[in-house]
C-alpha cells in the first residue's frame, strides 16, 4: 500500500518549514485581536485615552461577553479559513513547482492521485491543528480578559460552529489545489482565493447565496448579517460537489496535462 508512504513523505516535507510556523503566528493573532475589541468595548474611556479604536468598536454594537467573543471567533475562523486555507493549499501543492521538485515526483512509480490525496490530508491536518490551537488560545485569552457569561455549553457550541465553518472552508480547498497545479505556482491560487472571497461576500447578499460555494461560509458565519442557524441541504450539496469536483480536476490535471516546469 503506497498511500501511507506518500502521506509520510508529505508530512516529512513540512520539517523545518517556516511557513507552518508563520501560519500559526498569523492565525494566533485572531483571538488577540478579538480580545482587543472586547477590551475596547468594556473600557471605552481608557481605550479612547489610548487612542485605540473606541469609536469604531462602539459603532459595531459589540458587547464584551463570551457569546459575542465566540461569534466573532467563528467569523474570523470562517473568513480566515477562506484566506489561510488557500495559503496552506498553495504552499503544499505549489512548493513542488516553486522548488522545482514536481518533475522529481511525477515520474515515480506512484499514481499521481496519491499525491493529491496525501497533500489534501496534510492540509486538513494542518488546518485542523491551527483551528484547535486558536480555539484553545481563545479560551485562555477570554478567561484572562474575565469576560462574563462563560459556560461549557457555550464553549462547545462556539467550538462546534468554528469547526463547522473551518470544515466548509476546507471543502472549497481542492479547487484551490487545482488552480495551483494549473498555474504551477503560488500566485494563481492566492489571487483566486482573494477573488472568491470578494465574490463570495457579494453573492452572500443576493438570493444566490445558498448556491454559490464561496458565499456559503460568509453566510454561515454572519459576515453579511446574522449568521444563518441552519444552512439548506442544497448548500451542503453544493460545497460537497465543489469538493469532489476540485479533487477530480486536480487529479486529471496532474495525470493528463503537461507537467513541465
Amino acid at each position: 500500500m503506497i498511500f501511507p508512504q506518500v502521506l509520510a513523505t508529505e508530512f516529512l516535507k513540512l520539517r523545518r518549514s517556516k511557513v507552518t510556523w508563520l501560519s500559526f503566528v498569523a492565525l494566533s493573532l485572531a483571538p488577540l485581536g478579538i480580545a482587543l475589541f472586547m477590551w475596547i468595548v468594556r473600557e471605552p474611556g481608557r481605550a479612547a485615552q489610548l487612542g485605540l479604536l473606541g469609536t469604531k468598536a462602539d459603532l459595531s454594537g459589540l458587547t464584551a461577553t463570551w457569546p459575542a467573543y465566540f461569534s466573532m471567533l467563528v467569523l474570523v475562523v470562517g473568513i480566515g479559513g477562506m484566506l489561510m486555507l488557500p495559503f496552506i493549499i498553495a504552499y503544499v501543492f505549489g512548493r513542488e513547482y516553486a522548488d522545482g521538485t514536481a518533475k522529481n515526483l511525477l515520474a515515480l512509480p506512484v499514481g499521481r492521485q496519491w499525491f493529491v490525496f496525501a497533500k489534501l490530508v496534510v492540509a486538513a491536518v494542518w488546518w485542523l491543528v491551527l483551528v484547535v490551537a486558536v480555539l484553545a488560545e481563545a479560551i485562555v485569552v477570554g478567561h484572562a480578559l474575565a469576560l462574563p457569561g462563560f459556560s461549557a455549553g457555550l464553549a462547545l457550541g462556539g467550538a462546534r460552529d468554528a469547526l463547522l465553518a473551518a470544515g466548509i472552508s476546507y471543502l472549497l480547498a481542492p479547487v484551490v489545489a487545482w488552480i495551483t497545479t494549473l498555474g504551477r505556482g503560488y500566485l494563481p491560487p492566492l489571487g483566486f482565493a482573494l477573488a472568491m472571497l470578494a465574490l463570495g461576500n457579494v453573492f452572500a447578499k443576493t438570493g444566490w447565496a445558498d448556491w454559490f460555494p464561496w458565499s456559503i461560509v460568509p453566510l454561515s458565519v454572519g459576515t453579511v448579517g446574522q449568521p444563518v442557524q441552519t444552512l439548506p441541504p442544497g448548500s451542503f450539496v453544493v460545497v460537497g460537489l465543489t469538493f469532489f469536483a476540485g479533487i477530480i480536476a486536480t487529479i486529471l490535471q496532474l495525470r493528463h496535462a503537461d507537467n513541465a516546469q
Partner: protein, 307 residues
C-alpha cells in the same frame, strides 16, 4: 528510419513529436536504445533533448507518436514501470528545507527501496560529509550529486539523465563517467543521457544520437565515430565542384564538399597525388593539408553550427 523495437530495447520511440503552438520541439523522433548500452543524446540548446526526456518519463504528453520504456507503453496512469527507472531532468532540484538524507528518504519511501539504500547512495556519490546539511545550502555540484544519488537509490535498470555532468567539477565529471561505465558494464544498467559536452560523450557513449531542431540527424556507434574521426585531406580550390569531379575521376572514392572546401577521406598518404590531379586539371589550390575531424567538428558540420 523506423524503429523496430525488440525485447532488447530499453527505450523505443515511434514517430515521437511534440508541438508547442507554432514550435515543433520534437519532430517525428524514432529512437531505439538497447538494454545495457550507454546512449548519448547529443544536441545544442533547444534541440529538443529535454522535451524528449520529459516525454520518455511521461511528464508531458506527445503531440504525436508514442514511447515504450522497458517494454511498457508510457501513458497516463501507467506508472509501475518507473520503479525500474532512475532519472534526472533538467536542473538538479531538492526540497531545500530538508537534509540530503531526508531528501533521499522521500525517494526511498516512494520507490520502495530498502533503508540501507540511502547510505549506499550517499557513499556512492560521496555525500557523506553533507548528509545532514540542508539541500538548500548545497553548492550546485553537490546538488547534482544529490540528484544523481536520488536517481540511483533504488538500483534502476534504466537511467535517464539530462546533462548529468552539469555543475560538476572536473573530478566529479570523471567520477560520474566511471560510475556510469561501471553501472553499464558490471550491472547491465542502460544509460540514456543527454549532453552538449561532446568530449564527455565521446569518452562515455556506446552510441550517440545527434539531434537538432527536434530531429534525429544521425546515430553513430563507437566504430562509426572512430571512422568519422579518421583523417582526411582538406582541399581549398578555386573550382570546388570541378575539383570534386577531377578527384573522383582519379579514383578518390570518399569526397565531401562542404562550406566551399573538400574533404578527401582515406587519402592522408596521397597528398602529392591530389595536388598532381588538381594542378593537372588546371585548378588553382589555396590549401591542401591533412586533417582529422573530431566529434565536435562533425557535430558542428552536421547541425550547421560554426566550425
Amino acid at each position: 528510419m523506423r524503429v523496430v523495437a525488440t525485447a532488447s530495447s530499453a527505450i523505443a520511440t515511434y514517430g515521437l513529436s511534440k508541438r508547442y503552438g507554432d514550435v515543433l520541439a520534437v519532430d517525428v523522433l524514432d529512437l531505439d536504445v538497447r538494454r545495457g548500452e550507454i546512449y548519448a543524446f547529443l544536441g545544442s540548446n533547444g534541440a529538443g533533448k529535454t522535451t524528449t526526456i520529459r516525454m520518455l518519463l511521461g511528464l508531458i504528453r506527445p503531440s504525436g507518436g508514442h514511447v515504450d520504456v522497458l517494454g511498457r507503453r508510457v501513458r497516463p496512469g501507467a506508472s509501475d514501470v518507473f520503479a525500474r527507472v532512475g532519472y534526472l531532468v533538467e536542473t538538479a532540484t531538492a526540497y531545500p528545507n530538508l537534509t540530503v538524507y531526508e531528501n533521499l528518504e522521500i525517494q526511498r519511501r516512494l520507490t520502495g527501496a530498502p533503508r540501507a539504500a540511502i547510505a549506499e547512495a550517499i557513499d556512492l556519490m560521496r555525500l557523506g560529509a553533507h548528509a545532514d546539511r540542508r539541500a538548500g545550502v548545497l553548492s550546485l555540484g553537490y546538488k547534482q550529486r544529490l540528484a544523481l544519488a536520488r536517481a540511483l537509490l533504488h538500483r534502476p535498470e534504466l537511467l535517464i539523465l539530462d546533462e548529468p555532468a552539469n555543475g560538476l567539477d572536473p573530478s566529479g565529471i570523471v567520477e560520474v563517467r566511471q560510475l556510469l561505465q561501471s553501472l553499464a558494464s558490471e550491472q547491465g544498467v542502460t544509460v540514456f543521457m543527454s549532453s552538449h559536452i561532446l568530449a564527455e560523450v565521446a569518452h562515455l557513449a556506446d552510441r550517440i544520437g545527434i539531434v537538432d531542431h527536434g530531429r534525429l540527424l544521425e546515430e553513430l556507434d563507437r566504430e562509426e565515430l572512430r571512422v568519422r574521426e579518421r583523417g582526411h585531406v582538406r582541399v581549398c580550390a578555386s573550382e570546388p565542384e570541378r575539383a570534386t569531379s577531377a578527384l573522383a575521376a582519379a579514383g578518390f572514392a570518399h569526397i565531401e564538399l562542404a562550406d566551399g572546401h573538400l574533404r578527401v577521406f582515406d587519402a592522408e598518404d596521397r597528398v602529392p597525388e591530389i595536388a598532381r590531379v588538381l594542378v593537372g586539371a588546371g585548378i588553382e589550390l589555396t590549401e591542401l593539408a591533412p586533417a582529422r575531424e573530431d566529434l565536435e567538428s562533425y557535430f558542428l558540420r552536421l547541425t550547421g553550427g560554426v566550425e
